[in-house]
Symmetry: C2
Subunit: 370 residues, 2 copies
Amino acid sequence: MNVTLRGRTQHFRTVTFDAARNSVLLIEQRLLPHEFRVVAMRDFRETAGAIRDMIVRGAGAIGATAAYGLAQGARAFRGKDPEKFSAHVENVFQVLKSARPTAVDPVNAMKDVLREMARGETIAEKQSLALAAAEEFANEDARHCEAIGRHGQKLIRSGSRVLTHCNAGWLAFVDVGSATAPMYAAQAAGKKFHVWCDETRPRSQGATLTAWELAQQKISHQIIADNAAGHLMQRGKIDLVIVGSDRTLGRTGEVTNKIGTYTKAVLAARHKIPFYVAIPLSTIDWNLKSGFEIPIEERSESEVLGAWGVVEHPKSFGRAYVRVANPASGACNPGFDVTPAELITGIITPAGIFKPGELWKHRRKLGFSN
Amino acid sequence: MNVTLRGRTQHFRTVTFDAARNSVLLIEQRLLPHEFRVVAMRDFRETAGAIRDMIVRGAGAIGATAAYGLAQGARAFRGKDPEKFSAHVENVFQVLKSARPTAVDPVNAMKDVLREMARGETIAEKQSLALAAAEEFANEDARHCEAIGRHGQKLIRSGSRVLTHCNAGWLAFVDVGSATAPMYAAQAAGKKFHVWCDETRPRSQGATLTAWELAQQKISHQIIADNAAGHLMQRGKIDLVIVGSDRTLGRTGEVTNKIGTYTKAVLAARHKIPFYVAIPLSTIDWNLKSGFEIPIEERSESEVLGAWGVVEHPKSFGRAYVRVANPASGACNPGFDVTPAELITGIITPAGIFKPGELWKHRRKLGFSN
C-alpha cells in the first residue's frame, strides 16, 4: 500500500525479494509508527532472525518471509552435489521453522516452495523454481486480500463509521490486509467514510500500526481507548465493525482474535450493529470442534503494566518503556479471546462472505480438500 | 486506610487538618503509585491550588478539602471587625469554589460549613465552629463509606473474584472509598477474595490508584487490560462487578461513570454476573429525567495518544509522558459513559442496597428532602 516519504508517495509491500542481491527486504515494523525503514536480510539466517525478533509479524507476512527465506537459502548453495544441496535446504527449512515454532504459516508456505522445487531436476532448476514459488506465494497472499476487499467493500457506504480492533492491516500480510481490505477497496471505489481505531491495549497495535496505515492511506480516522466503543455505539456513532482473525473454526464459526474482540462483538450485538470478520483462507482450522479447545496464550505481565512509546521530554532519548502501574502489583494478560458464531454477522473471505455457521457447508469453496 | 512506609503500617486519610499549624494535609496523589508523600497546604490559596492542580481528586476528597480550606481561611483572619470577617470568608469561599468550577461537592461542603458558622456570635466562635463543621463533613464522608462497606460486603464471599473499574477507592474520598468499601469490609470480616483491577485507559486510574490501594491493603489482585474482562467472564473467572459512579439519576437509576463502565455492564449482563454500583448520597441527581441529558465531557486527545509512567532506562529521569500512537493520528476521548438501569443489579448506598429503578421510591431514606 501507500507510504509517503519526504513528500513522495510510493507503493510498498511488507515483504519483497531482491534477486540480484539474494536479499529479503522487510519493513522494520518495530520502528513503526515513529520511523519507516526497509531493511535487507542478506542470508537465510538473518531472515530467520527477522521472523524471530518480530521485525516482521502477521500470518501472511511471516509466511511470505519464510518462503522467500527458503528460496534465498537454496539460491545461496554453491556446490554441485544434489545430496549436499538437499541437506542444505533441509537445514534452511529447520532454521526458518524454529524462528516462530508455534506459527503454522511459515511451515505451510515453505512446504509450497519445497513442492515446487521437487519439480526441478538440476540444482539450478530447483533454485529457480524456489524463487518462483516464493513469489507466487506472496502474490497469492496479496490477491486473496484484494478479493476480501472486493467482497467486503460493499458493506461500507459513504458516510459509514467503521470500528476496527488491533491490526489486521497490510503490515500483517504481504499487502492490502484482511480487516483493512474492505476499507482500502471502498476508498478506491470513491467512498468517504470514517474509521474508529481501537487502541488495542496492551500492545496498542491499533494506535500504532492500524492508525499509521490509515494515515498513510489518507483515510479519515480517530484512535479511541478500548473503553470508548460502547459509548460510541450507544450514541449511534458506529455503523459497522470489521476485525481480523488469528484462527477461525471451520466447523463452528468461532473466531479467535486479539483480546477485546469478543467484547466488541457483545456490544455490537446489543446495538444491532453488523459485526464482520475478514480472514484469509489459511486461518481456517477445519479440525477443532469447540473454541474452548483453543489454548489462550498468556503473555508477559509487563505489557499490561506499562507502555512503549517515544518519550516527550527535553532530555528525550527516543523510544522507551514506561512503567504505568503500581510497582507492587502484578497483571494477568491473556493475548486472545474467542467470539462465538452467534455474535458474528458474516465472515469475509477471498471466496465471498459467509454466515459463520455455514463455513463447513462451503468448505470446498474455502479450500478444504478432505 | 493502611499505608506501609519503611516497613511500618500506618492509617491515613486522604485529607486531614493540622489545627496547630492551620494547615490542610493532603496525600499528593499525582505522585502515586510511584511515590507516597503527604503535603501541607499552609493557607487557603494553597489549598485551592491543590484542588485545581489535582493534588487531591475525587468527589468526597475535594469536598472535604474545600470544607477544611474554608475553615482554614476563616481561622487565619486576625481582625475584630465582623463585616471585614464576613467579606474575608466570602472571598475564601469564591477562591475555593473557582478551583474546580464545575464540581458540586466543594460548594455543597462549604455551604455546610457556612451554615454552622452562622450559629456563632463572635468571630472566634465562628472560627471554631467552621473547623468543627469541616471535621464533621470529613467524618460523615468516612462514615458513609463505611456504611457502604457494611451493606456491600455481604455480596463478597471467600473465594469471590471481583472486577472493578477505575478508582472509586479511599483516595477519592476521605477514607474507605465507595466501590472499594465492600472489599475492605469483607477483608475485615476475614474473607479471602481476588480483585481484577481494570487498567482503565486512557488515564489508567485502575492500574495506578486502585492497584496501589489494594496492594497497601494486602488484598489479592491483578491488573488486566480493559480488553480482558470479557474473556475472563466467558471462562467463568469473574463472580461480581462493583464500580463507583460520578452521577446517578435518582429518577431512572442510570449511572454515569468512567468511560468503559457501560461495556463492563453489558458483558456482565450477558454472563449473568451481578453488577453493582456503590455510591455516596451526594452523587444522586434527583432532577434529570434521562441519561442522555448528561453532557459527556470530551477530554484531551493526548490521554489516548500516550501514557504517563516512570521510564525504565539507564538514563531514566523519572516520570514522563510517552507518545504511543501514530504521530499523524488524532483521537476521540469521551471521559464518561451512561449505564442504563436494566444492566445494574443493585446500587449500594450508605442507607442500604436498592434496585436502580427504586431509588425514587426510597428518596426520603436517600436524603432527598423535596
